[in-house]
């Protein structure tokens, strides 16, 4: 057993360090309190925290490449002034995290590599490397700060190279030759990344929304009513932004950033692009803003369009109602119904070219436009379908004749009139999910005039002495 992570007292008073064996640590500090490491749990917590950091920047990446040195990387380009400058931003981050019970150190620099080094090795909780002074800021840090492997650090120590600044004057060719790793030029590359000679793109946790509107509150909102009051202004701002680029939202998200370092989110999909604030508000209202768990309060609300599509401005109609107005009303209705009833609650039929009843129509999520149609089946189809078909006990006078009486759902029916069969063979050109059997469909009418669509599955001449293959009767539908 080795130590995975240590707290400040253990590190500074007892000089324990990650990677040390547990027995050694117990010998140094007999009162050591340890708990099993839970890397998955930690990764999850870090991810949740990353989402919360979207209140500072839309581009947040989890940096978990080095176990024990996990952190978050934020792209703050052009954004620090919103929080009162870089120093103030870092202090606010540290203060907010401390309030949520998370001890943290923060740094801001020109490159992710330099920020990584400063946050962990500068000894300050809020370190700022002014633009262009990365080289000087890193010079005094130990070489471990460059995100190197253990072997490379040991080798550097043997050469007497302990500070990052020591590497600045050395010939690159020599460094590149000596410090390789399976991926290539380990040391030189890390140095370049830290100093900004090589670009290092961030991989954001969630793609940054293109359109977003947000509002911070002096006092955290405890009740969801507060969200309801704030939402109209956010919707207006988002729609104004969408309008400027001629887009309409297809997918909306409302994020509430809680003071305890968590984010709660409510999403709503739209069946057609829209940028009408009233419609967006209505969607969230139907979805239920009460469902947002604000915990001990949320102090930032963000409304973003996760997906947007072009929405051309339309000329107003002078006369009467038009098809377009009807389409708008339909799209609005579909959105509201789906927000409350769930995705896929509203469906429209899409024709499929197939003669098998269960395949010949597919119900797709509805939009204001009708899905493509197909040619209708050759024979009429019943109005009501049973999916899947229900078993029927039927009695036929001849093996391949229509039934003369049958029992369905425990009710006996005597057949007065029947027509058939309509023989449907399995679609051999499609991969079969089960044993494919021929079906003979009959329209039968019982003596009360109810008309049903029954089918016999299987053919008598194909039994071959196997009782499992005896043809069986099924109820497929009922006619109006």
């Amino acid at each position: 057993m080795v130590l995975h992570a240590v707290d400040r007292v253990a590190r500074e008073v007892f000089r324990l360090h990650p990677g040390q064996s547990h027995a050694d640590a117990r010998a140094i500090a007999p009162g050591l309190v340890s708990a099993p490491a839970e890397p998955e749990e930690e990764a999850r917590a870090l991810q949740a925290l990353a989402l919360w950091f979207e209140r500072f920047s839309p581009l947040v990446a989890v940096d978990a490449a080095f176990p024990g040195q996990e952190g978050l990387l934020l792209d703050m380009t052009g954004g620090a002034h919103l929080f009162g400058g870089e120093q103030a931003l870092l202090q606010e981050i540290v203060r907010r995290l401390a309030a949520a019970g998370i001890p943290a150190a923060a740094a801001i620099a020109d490159t992710p590599g330099a920020a990584f080094a400063l946050a962990r090795w500068s000894g300050e909780t809020a370190a700022v490397a002014p633009p262009g002074e990365t080289r000087a800021a890193l010079a005094d840090l130990p070489v471990e700060a460059l995100r190197l492997s253990g072997d490379a650090v040991r080798l550097l120590a043997r050469f007497g190279l302990q500070r990052v600044g020591d590497l600045y004057g050395l010939p690159r060719a020599g460094l590149a030759r000596r410090f390789r790793d399976p991926e290539g030029l380990a040391l030189v590359r890390r140095l370049d990344q830290a100093l900004g000679a090589e670009a290092e793109p961030l991989k954001p946790e969630r793609p940054a929304p293109e359109y977003r509107a947000w509002q911070a509150f002096a006092e955290p909102l405890i009740e969801t009513e507060g969200v309801t009051y704030a939402l109209p202004a956010l919707a207006e701002a988002l729609c104004a932004e969408l309008e400027r680029t001629g887009q309409g939202a297809r997918m909306l998200a409302l994020d509430a950033f809680r003071t305890d370092g968590r984010v709660v989110r409510l999403t709503a999909g739209l069946s057609a692009p829209s940028r009408t604030p009233k419609h967006l508000l209505r969607l969230f209202k139907d979805k239920g803003i009460e469902a947002l768990d604000l915990g001990f309060g949320a102090d930032v609300l963000m409304l973003s369009a996760l997906a947007a599509e072009p929405l051309a401005p339309r000329q107003a109609e002078l006369q009467g109602d038009s098809r377009l107005a009807g389409n708008d009303a339909l799209a609005g209705l579909i959105d509201r119904l789906q927000a409350r009833l769930g995705e896929g609650a509203v469906r429209r039929p899409e024709g499929v070219q197939s003669h098998l009843p269960e395949r010949s129509e597919r119900w797709v999520a509805a939009g204001p436009k009708a899905p493509p149609a197909a040619d209708p089946p050759f024979r009429p189809r019943p109005l009501v379908m049973f999916d899947p078909p229900e078993p029927v006990e039927a009695l036929a006078e001849l093996p391949d004749a229509a039934p003369s009486r049958f029992t369905w759902r425990r009710a006996p029916h005597r057949v007065a009139k029947a027509q058939g069969p309509e023989r449907l063979s399995p679609e051999w050109w499609r991969p079969a999910s089960g044993p494919a059997r021929t079906r003979d469909y009959y329209v039968v009418e019982d003596d009360a005039g109810r008309r049903f669509w029954l089918f016999r599955e299987g053919l008598y001449e194909r039994i071959e002495g196997d009782d499992d293959r005896l043809p069986r009767w099924w109820m497929q539908g009922a006619w109006g």
Binding site: L333, L341, L383, V384, K417, G449, R451, A478, W479, G480
Partner: protein, 227 residues
């Protein structure tokens, strides 16, 4: 001065009452649900056509209801003359949600008619549906799988049952044009009656079956045996 409304002596000579914004149809037997649905669709379509209304139609039902009574088939609806492109199906998990969806759909003004399978709407709920249908200029149809005994704000209440079909012109053993009996149980103006309706094979709609003279083609003396 009190005017008396003449009751029809031969119900089928009397025309069906004009469509109302809110009607209710119940199956006289639970297994008669398909005829009820056909009747409601046919009537809703005719009401929309009467207004020259090309908006889509919607059917609202709950998941348990669909399991029990089956689901609406798009190709089957086409048999009644409804273009599947004009059809929407709204499926709710429970009845209160279905009621809400029913009302929203009616109010939206985007639909020509909404047919809802509701088992136990309260009187207040039916009043709301009536107002919603007027607000959205749509027809509302509540379908019940059993004859109800409760109050309803529906202007017309029907009880529908299947009837033996007409003779097939070519094959005496095959079912001919579908028939159903619609009984007007209650209406605002006090009229009632029992109507025998027959499906018109050209338009797919149910119209009054010709009771007296028109029997269609004479039955063939030597019927073709179509197995």
């Amino acid at each position: 001065m009190i005017q008396t409304v003449a009751r029809p002596v031969f119900p089928n000579l009397h025309a069906l009452p004009a469509p109302e914004p809110f009607e209710e149809a119940a199956a006289s037997h639970p297994q008669d649900f398909a005829p009820v649905l056909a009747f409601a669709l046919s009537r809703a379509l005719m009401a929309a056509e009467g207004r020259g209304d090309g908006r889509p139609l919607a059917m609202v039902s709950t998941v348990p209801f669909e399991h029990e009574r089956g689901r609406l088939s798009a190709w089957g609806a086409r048999g009644l003359g409804l273009d599947p492109a004009r059809l929407l199906v709204i499926r709710a998990r429970r009845e209160p949600e279905a009621q809400w969806a029913f009302e929203e759909a009616l109010k939206s003004g985007a639909l020509a008619a909404v047919i809802g399978a509701l088992e136990t709407p309260s009187f207040v709920a039916t009043r709301r549906l009536d107002f919603a249908a007027r607000a959205g200029q749509a027809s509302a149809f509540v379908l019940r799988s059993k004859p109800p005994s409760d109050l309803s704000a529906a202007r017309l209440r029907w009880r529908v049952s299947a009837e033996p079909s007409a003779d097939h012109p070519l094959d005496p053993r095959a079912p001919g044009a579908a028939r159903l009996a619609a009984e007007l149980v209650r209406s605002r103006d006090g009229g009632s009656g029992r109507f025998l309706l027959e499906q018109d094979h050209e338009t797919g709609r149910f119209r009054l079956a010709a009771g007296l003279a028109d029997h269609g083609l004479a039955p063939q003396p030597h019927a073709l045996q179509v197995a």
